[in-house]
């Protein structure tokens, strides 16, 4: 704890306190919250803070994974072991099922990421969830920098950035009608560096792909993609074995690895503190589509 004479919290303590407050507010005011858990670092922090918010009682809502079928196996294994250890209820919303049911059609390029929105909205409707926790942070992307902590979604799951509710002090307004829901972002004010510092402080486990490891990769569109079930090099693309790690966890075909030898939290923190490229800029093809790619996806109901 901090020195008792100054009554100051460190910035990490202040961020954690704010996030705990948000979790409790939602648990008190909503009927059916659900937490989106991808196994990525932000959702790990989210889950960790949620556990603290309700301790010693268990987390009073289920977690949901939107499964594209293009996941890293290490991440799926991590998801399942976490769910088991923490005794959580897991809802899996499957993009493959959405395709089978004809709700969405596979894209010619095979990229599943944009299809997730339909799967997610269907699962929200089916589970009658009225509050959906997401791990998005405002420092990630310029449209996210604009979003409220309690972000209203209409009956079609749409976000209207020009008509957001005022959000004052720590008074969060979660009113909605049946069929509408609120996206909740408890980590809005955390930065990538905060996330890593916190993971280290809490000694929280993460999927192994966040740490440096050897991997067969090839370069495409300026990104290092792995040789995998879903991504294979064309003839012109040379396969090399590199020491890499991941800064974000997304679908295999659109998530690039970064060359790195950082194998511990301390090394990652040093690397993140010195980096000159944002995590999404470095590793996510989905954000490179157009200048307003994220805003457009969010309007439709994306995370």
């Amino acid at each position: 704890m901090t020195a008792p004479t100054t009554y100051e919290l460190s910035s990490l303590q202040a961020l954690e306190a704010e996030s705990i407050h948000i979790f409790r507010e939602v648990a008190a005011e909503f009927e059916r919250p659900v937490l989106l858990f991808s196994g990525g670092k932000d959702s790990v922090v989210m889950l960790h803070v949620a556990r603290k918010a309700f301790w010693p009682a268990p987390i009073p809502f289920p977690v949901m994974h939107v499964d594209t079928g293009h996941n890293f196996p290490e991440v799926l294994a991590f998801r399942d072991s976490t769910v088991q250890e923490m005794g959580l209820r897991l809802v899996v919303a499957s993009v493959e099922e959405s395709i089978a049911k004809g709700r969405v059609r596979e894209r010619p390029d095979g990229v599943r990421n944009p299809l997730q929105t339909v799967t997610l909205l269907d699962a929200i409707q089916q589970g009658q969830f009225d509050a959906v926790f997401g791990g998005a942070r405002r420092d990630e992307e310029k449209a996210r920098a604009k979003e409220r902590v309690f972000s209203f979604r209409d009956e079609f799951g749409q976000w209207d950035p020009k008509a957001q509710r005022p959000e004052l002090w720590s008074l969060y307004n979660g009113r909605h009608h049946k069929g509408e829901h609120i996206r909740i972002f408890p980590l809005s004010n955390w930065t990538e560096l905060d996330i890593w510092s916190y993971l280290k402080q809490e000694d929280a486990p993460l999927p192994s792909i966040y740490f440096a490891h050897e991997r067969e990769v090839f370069q495409r569109d300026g990104m290092w993609l792995p040789v995998s079930e879903f991504t294979s090099p064309k003839e012109s693309e040379e396969v090399v074995t590199l020491t890499v790690r991941y800064r974000t966890v997304g679908d295999i075909p659109i998530t690039g690895a970064v060359e790195s030898s950082a194998a511990s939290y301390d090394e990652i923190i040093a690397e993140v503190a010195a980096t000159r490229v944002t995590e999404r800029g470095a590793t996510r093809a989905d954000d490179r589509l157009s200048e307003a790619a994220m805003e457009d996806r969010k309007k439709e109901g994306y995370f």
Binding site: T2, P4, Y7, E8, L9, S10, S11, Q13, L15, A17, E18, I20, H21, R24, E25, A27, A28, R51, K52, A53, F54, W55, P56, A57, P58, R138, D139, E141, K142, A143, A145, K146, P161, K162, Q164, R165, P166, E167, L168, W169, S170, L171, N173, R175, H176, H177, S188, N189, T191, L193, T275, R276, V277, T278, G281, A282, E291, A292, E295, D296
Partner: protein, 414 residues
């Protein structure tokens, strides 16, 4: 241990708020290469003369198209001394509600004034809102000094005029800095173009301003947010009251009073998932256990027997009206105060304030979008309130449209 400072921009449209934030991020090397490249590309494509640093915060499509800020952007940066959360707010009157959003949590506000235009109505409105929200520190940045030949007389004129206006406001700490957001003068580094200015750069000021004493450490206030009762054999008898400390310092062994029951008991322990703590103060989120088993639920307030908030159904408050449907006498609204949700009826509008002259219009019968006035409310159930000037948490509330669920008013209790 880095301390956290939240600050917001304010001021009229085009006075350079977003450019200043862009400059601050750029000159502190807080911008990533890919972000900068994107902004350079966009500026080039649009034929802008300079790299338009405002694009670093104006992230929405509509904002980029119109070259204005519509909603608050939150940005983050850190220096070895402090970490900062910035809320870059819009200057346009139509989006005042978003400016209020950004300023409500700020400890410091930067009010920008275009040196060529001087103080305009929007500068006054924002300065007034800032003082109403009791943002404890206000820094007036006289911007675009490059367009007035870095003239000391211009700066002094605006400074005097603002000081004069500010005497009618309640502003704790007021300072003035002449800057050029575009060129970077006095933003991160002291400018050589204004040798007559002997103050510090803006960043230096942000790093040094004393913020520790801004919180209330005297009046114990703990709005009960959530009751923790694990249904497990291990913690069978556990019953904890979770919440965020809104004021004062709480310790195990303290005698406390619970509203609304009025019963007294003693704090048994203050728990967190990381173990019990010796003291809890704002804004810690903790779980309080009490010696006696009394009926407590969300919306109750834990305080001290000799120092309690006022329990009342009659609320006197200043409100900022945030929606186009005007507030009128006898209107019914949802009201959220701390962790309590009640309904409230407007009994009276005492006056509306003209933000230019600060004149009070006592004949007002409505408050329209972006107007500010003093009202009386009657609530369906008692609230446990303090004056907003004494406690920003127990002194604030939202008014909510019961049909749409929208937040329509921001209230500060008198």
């Amino acid at each position: 241990m880095a301390e956290l400072l939240r600050f917001a921009t304010a001021g009229s449209v085009d006075d350079g708020k977003s450019t200043l934030i862009g400059r601050l991020l750029y000159d502190t090397k807080s911008i990533f290469e890919d972000q900068l490249e994107a902004v350079e590309r966009t500026s080039r494509d649009r034929g802008d003369e300079h790299v338009n640093l405002a694009l670093l915060t104006d992230g929405l499509r509509a904002e980029r198209e119109q070259g204005i800020t519509i909603d608050v952007a939150y940005r983050y940066f850190a220096t070895p001394k402090r970490t900062f959360i910035i809320a870059d707010t819009p200057g346009h009157i139509q989006y005042t509600r978003n400016m209020v959003t950004g300023a409500s949590t700020a400890s410091l506000a930067l009010v920008l004034i275009d040196a060529r235009n001087g103080i305009v109505e929007q500068s006054r409105r924002h300065a007034f809102i800032t003082s109403l929200l009791r943002v404890p520190h206000l820094v007036v940045c006289v911007n675009k000094m490059d367009l007035v030949d870095y003239d000391e007389a211009v700066f002094n004129r605006i400074k005097d005029e603002f000081r004069n206006f500010a005497t009618k406001l309640d502003i704790g700490d007021l300072s003035f800095i002449p800057i050029s957001a575009l060129k970077g003068d006095n933003v991160v580094h002291r400018s050589e173009n204004m040798p007559w200015y002997d103050g510090t750069s803006l960043l230096h000021h942000l790093e040094d301003v004393h913020i520790a004493s801004d919180r209330n450490l005297i009046d114990v206030r703990f709005p009960v947010q959530y009751v923790i009762r694990p249904q497990s054999t291990e913690h069978h008898d556990y019953r904890g009251y979770a919440g965020t400390v809104a004021g004062g310092v709480m310790k195990p062994g303290d005698e406390v009073l619970v509203l609304e029951s009025g019963l007294t008991t003693t704090i048994e322990s203050i728990d967190t998932a990381d173990g019990p703590v010796e003291e809890a103060y704002s804004p810690m989120s903790v779980t309080v256990r009490l010696k006696d088993d009394i009926d407590i639920s969300r919306g109750d307030m834990i305080c001290r027997p000799q120092n309690r908030p006022q329990a009342t159904q009659d609320v006197d408050a200043m409100v900022c009206w945030l929606t186009s449907d005007p507030l009128h006498v006898r209107g019914m609204y949802g009201l959220k105060h701390t962790t309590r949700n009640v309904r409230a009826q407007v009994k009276d509008i005492e006056y509306r304030i003209d933000v230019n002259s600060l004149h009070r219009d006592e004949t007002a019968e409505t408050l329209s979008l972006n107007e500010i006035g003093r009202i009386k409310l009657r609530t369906t159930k008692p609230l446990f309130v303090d004056e907003y000037r004494r406690n920003r948490t127990t002194g604030s509330f939202l008014l909510i449209d019961e049909a749409t669920g929208a937040t329509v008013g921001a209230g500060m209790i008198l």
